[in-house]
């Protein structure tokens, strides 16, 4: 093995194909976007060099700021919701559920395999208010909470929250399975020893399980972060970015700017911002990993 790894040609043989592929499909488009961001218009139609004008435009663009805020809120809520509830579910599977463990696990995991558009349609029906009350409003109406009946996805104050609930519901099963796997890996002896030392409930989790689960938590956070930063299809399916731009994310705004407004240059600038958010976010999460 040592011989193989000492041979630079052998290393090249393993690395180069993947590197070429990565460069072609990841690095090159990023560089391409950088180049595009210096132009105004759409390639082929009014495509002119405009220097840094697109970057200046970014600072005065109210819609960009609105989309950025929506995106940040969404990441914060959905990322912690997915990972947090996933972890709670996994703990429930391991320590609390004795019967029907498999059925419950399957049920919780089930939404992961559903297509996003179908989930969007399903929740649109759940939140429905006109012409008929959907499941949620019917329930509220039925238990005498008529005052809470409202157009959940039709008003800015509740639309983003409703979307977050949907996306947390979809993905928490996925994280619960990851955490459950990690919990099974923790030796029973360790848990037993902690119990003898007096650790129960929250203290058992806080001082014994959480430190052992840390690498998995970090990985899950990175997964969830990269999934939420590109927020697009679920919002498109449930609210189409509305009402107004209450659920319009950066990627949706980038899509509009590039393809509906024919401003590919400015769209590229927004793409670069998304890229930077990814890099910064991943770096911050990575920092927690290196602490010890």
């Amino acid at each position: 093995m040592k011989n193989v790894l000492a041979n630079k040609k052998a290393i090249a043989l393993f690395v180069v194909p993947a590197l070429v592929l990565y460069t072609a499909i990841v690095a090159l488009p990023v560089v391409w976007s950088l180049y595009y961001s210096l132009y105004s218009g759409s390639p082929g139609l009014k495509w002119e060099f405009c220097g840094l004008d697109n970057y200046k435009m970014l600072f005065n663009d109210k819609n960009f700021k609105a989309a950025l805020i929506v995106n940040v809120k969404y990441i914060a809520v959905v990322m912690f919701g997915q990972v947090g509830l996933g972890l709670l579910l996994a703990l429930m599977f391991k320590f609390w559920l004795k019967k029907f463990k498999t059925i419950v696990r399957t049920l919780v995991f089930f939404p992961v395999v559903l297509p996003t558009v179908a989930v969007g349609q399903l929740f649109a029906k759940i939140y429905e208010i006109q012409p008929n009350y959907g499941l949620l409003n019917s329930l509220l109406d039925g238990i005498g909470l008529k005052s809470l009946v409202q157009p959940w996805i039709g008003q800015a104050s509740t639309a983003l929250g409703s979307l977050c609930v949907m996306d947390i519901w979809v993905a928490m099963g996925f994280y619960s399975v990851i955490f459950y796997g990690a919990l099974l890996d923790i030796s029973e002896d360790v848990v037993e020893a902690a119990r003898i030392d007096g650790a129960h409930g929250f203290s058992l989790f806080r001082y014994v399980l959480a430190p052992l689960l840390r690498p998995v938590i970090i990985t899950s956070l990175v997964f969830s972060f990269s999934g939420t930063v590109k927020m697009f299809e679920s919002a498109l399916a449930l609210t189409n970015g509305g009402p107004g731009n209450a659920t319009k994310s950066l990627s949706m705004y980038m899509y509009n700017v590039s393809f509906s407004y024919s401003k590919v240059g400015y769209g590229s600038v927004i793409a670069i911002v998304i890229f930077l958010i990814c890099v910064i976010g991943a770096t911050i999460i990575g920092k927690f990993d290196k602490k010890d």
Binding site: E128, Q155, P243, G244, F259
Partner: protein, 435 residues
């Protein structure tokens, strides 16, 4: 020697120009020479749906006249149409014929010199008269040109459809003036009937209402003035129009959660008697004519034009009209063979549409329209009454401004944005898009 060379070059270029000119002359009053050609058509309707049926049937009929003619039919969703055409235009690969949107979108293609001057071609081919003059005027108006660069695929009138039974139940008459209209809405609401259904989730169903009031109070050119900078979207009249719709929403005229209702659901609500009035275009007749869908029956729904505020500003015989999606011909693919097809298309689509669907497409027709259904007849009568036309809210806006105008209308309805803020957002987008 140099002079001689120059003279030769000049005469050669003249001959080439003449030869090029003769391409468009070729199809004039001559037998179809059965030229070989495969035409690519990009459409938003499947071949068994709406205009797709007509396009396919015209192509198939033309194939019988010219066996050397072939066509490839490509479908794209309406949402992706502009993007698809923009991409194809950028790569100089526009299909021979493609469906597109009138108004601002087509102007960009005209400016980039990508599409055929259809008006000039029709003149050369001597078939100008096959187009309905008001449809042509509308298309010219929408592209802001003296000639047309597109063919209409519809000739629609828009207005308020109402449920006759609910009007009777509430004891109200069809309103002629805006004040009467407001009274009708109030009476309906007081009687516990939802006065209006609107497709707030599709957005355009609501911006049309703002447009209706804006045009009736400021005239048909109100929106184009704002677009050209002669007026500001934040001027009093525009804000008042937005305010009007917000007031209706606040008064509960649209029912609960209007921003979650789509146009289809809103139409169903009208037909099933859940709401009394619904703004939509004449294409709504396809739903009305469907017996299983229209619970109100063959005569249960009526139509009235947008009520008048001031006859001197916008008269009662002025209607909101449009030509639906339009058909463009790619300039670099257009040749003699295409011109024969264009000729056949324009000469036959009017009859085909009337015979097959009982609908107007913006062309003259000489088949009988007696057999058309009651609802289609209502539309034909209304179009007959129209003396002038106005366009829709977003017609003069570019896609950036239009997106903002549509998206924020939901916020306006919810009361999260004031009427002034709504109009400011449109003005901002308008200014921003100029950058």
């Amino acid at each position: 020697m140099k002079k001689k060379l120059l003279a030769t070059m000049l005469s050669a270029s003249m001959i080439m120009t003449m030869a090029a000119g003769s391409v468009s002359l070729a199809a004039e009053n001559t037998e179809d020479p059965q030229l070989e050609k495969t035409i690519k058509i990009l459409s938003i309707w499947a071949e068994d749906n709406d205009n797709g049926v007509l396009i396919k049937s015209i192509c198939d009929q033309y194939k019988e006249i010219n066996p050397n003619f072939n066509y490839e039919y490509e479908l794209v969703s309406a949402d992706n149409l502009k993007q698809k055409v923009a991409t194809l235009a950028a790569s100089n690969d526009l299909p021979d014929i493609f469906v597109y949107e009138a108004g601002k979108p087509i102007v960009e293609l005209i400016e980039a010199d990508k599409i055929v001057d259809v008006g000039a071609e029709l003149k050369t081919l001597g078939i100008e008269d096959n187009l309905n003059p008001s449809a042509v005027a509308l298309l010219k108006n929408l592209s802001g040109t003296d000639t047309i660069y597109d063919l209409p695929l519809g000739h629609n009138v828009e207005g308020f459809w109402y449920n006759k039974a609910l009007f009777e139940e509430a004891g109200v008459e069809v309103p002629n003036t805006w004040d009467e209209f407001e009274d009708v809405l109030k009476t309906l609401s007081d009687k516990g009937i939802q006065p209006l259904a609107a497709g707030g989730s599709d957005k355009w169903g609501v911006t049309r209402l703002i447009n209706a009031y804006a045009v009736r109070t400021m005239g048909a050119d109100a929106l184009s003035k704002a677009d050209q900078g002669e007026a500001s979207y934040t001027d009093e009249g525009y804000v008042a129009a937005a305010q009007k719709i917000q007031d209706w929403a606040t008064a509960g005229y649209f029912g609960e959660g209007v921003t979650t209702v789509d146009m289809n659901t809103a139409g169903t609500m009208l037909m099933s008697g859940d709401a009394a009035i619904f703004y939509n275009g004449s294409w709504f007749t396809s739903n009305l004519n469907n017996e299983s869908e229209n619970l109100a029956g063959a005569d249960g729904i009526g139509f009235f034009n947008v009520p008048v505020v001031d006859e001197t500003i916008s008269p009662a015989d002025e209607y909101s009209m449009n030509c639906g999606n339009i058909l463009c011909f790619s300039k670099d693919k257009y040749d003699e063979a295409s011109s024969y097809f264009l000729k056949y298309f324009v000469e036959n689509i009017g009859n085909e549409a009337m015979e097959k669907q009982g609908s107007l497409k913006g062309y003259t027709y000489d088949v009988s329209d007696d057999s058309v259904s009651g609802y289609t007849k209502v539309v034909l009568d209304e179009i007959g009454k129209a003396q002038s036309a106005f366009t829709w809210w977003e017609a003069t806006m570019n896609s950036e401004t239009s997106t903002v105008a549509q998206e924020n209308v939901q916020t306006l309805l919810n009361g999260d944005m004031t009427a002034l803020e709504y109009m400011e957002s449109i003005q901002d987008a308008h200014d921003m898009s100029a950058l």
